[in-house]
């Protein structure tokens, strides 16, 4: 499957905006991504190993948080996983 890397994290993937991994679940895909690019791990996960609250993961067009199996959701080679940091604020 292909993982799309957001602008702020491309410095940790050698400038790549997309990374192909072989995985059977979302979790495996993230494991492979952070194995290949170890510096990404602290940006995506808390020290306890949970995905950071401001990191949104989309399997194709679905928010992984709301999938029944969440990060254990199965993936196909043609699927895409997008990493989208949240954006918010106000005066």
């Amino acid at each position: 499957m292909t993982i799309f890397i957001p602008t702020p994290l491309r410095g940790y993937t050698g400038g790549k905006e997309a990374v192909d991994v072989q995985a059977s679940t979302v979790s495996e895909a993230l494991d492979q991504l952070t194995t290949n690019f170890a510096d990404l791990r602290k940006h995506l996960f808390t020290p306890e190993g949970k995905v950071r609250a401001f990191v949104n993961l989309y399997l194709n067009d679905e928010d992984v948080r709301y999938l029944p199996a969440k990060e254990a959701s199965e993936v196909k080679p043609t699927d895409t996983l997008s990493i989208i940091p949240s954006i918010a604020g106000g005066r």
């Binding site: 799309f4 957001p6 602008t7 702020p8 410095g11 905006e17 602290k42 940006h43 401001f54 949104n56 989309y58 067009d61 928010d63 997008s82 989208i84 940091p85 949240s86 954006i87 918010a88 604020g89 106000g90 005066r91």
Partner: protein
């Protein structure tokens, strides 16, 4: 001080957006390309403010909308370079909320003050640092051209 380059059309559009949504905050994405001289913004994309509970002083862009914006940018060979929003009747200066909610390191955050419905100052801030612990906003010079 770093610089961010905006076309005249983008500069006008993000200020107009702030006037259009007054007294609520507007928000949107900045699409561009990065060079050694910094970000050059080619286009802006209006986004909906999902903070309808407190739109006069908060904004949030839904991640699915961001995802669609990013796909369109990528198809054009461009990237999300940052974001813009307005501060209705409040200075064009980042707030503690802006800082706490800023996670796009290396990207541009542009704020326009809208006073009584009219766009006033527009300022840009670069989210510098390499981690959440080190992040900080640096003022940027806006170059229009």
């Amino acid at each position: 001080m770093s610089t961010v380059s905006l076309t005249p059309a983008v500069y006008a559009e993000i200020r107009t957006h702030g006037e259009d949504t007054y007294p609520h905050e507007c928000c949107g994405a900045l699409i561009g390309a990065q060079s050694t001289e910094g970000w050059a913004i080619h286009a802006s994309v209006r986004a909906g403010n999902t903070r309808t509970d407190s739109a006069h002083n908060r904004y949030q862009i839904s991640p699915i909308e961001l995802l669609k914006i990013e796909r369109k940018a990528r198809a054009k060979g461009l990237s999300i370079a940052g974001f813009y929003h307005s501060h209705p009747d409040h200075p064009a200066q980042w707030s503690q909320t802006d800082f706490e909610e800023a996670h796009w390191l290396g990207c541009v955050y542009i704020i326009t003050a809208v006073e009584h419905g009219h766009a006033a100052a527009t300022n840009s801030f670069f989210l510098a640092g390499t981690s959440e612990d080190e992040k900080h906003f640096e003022p940027q010079q806006i170059v229009i051209g």
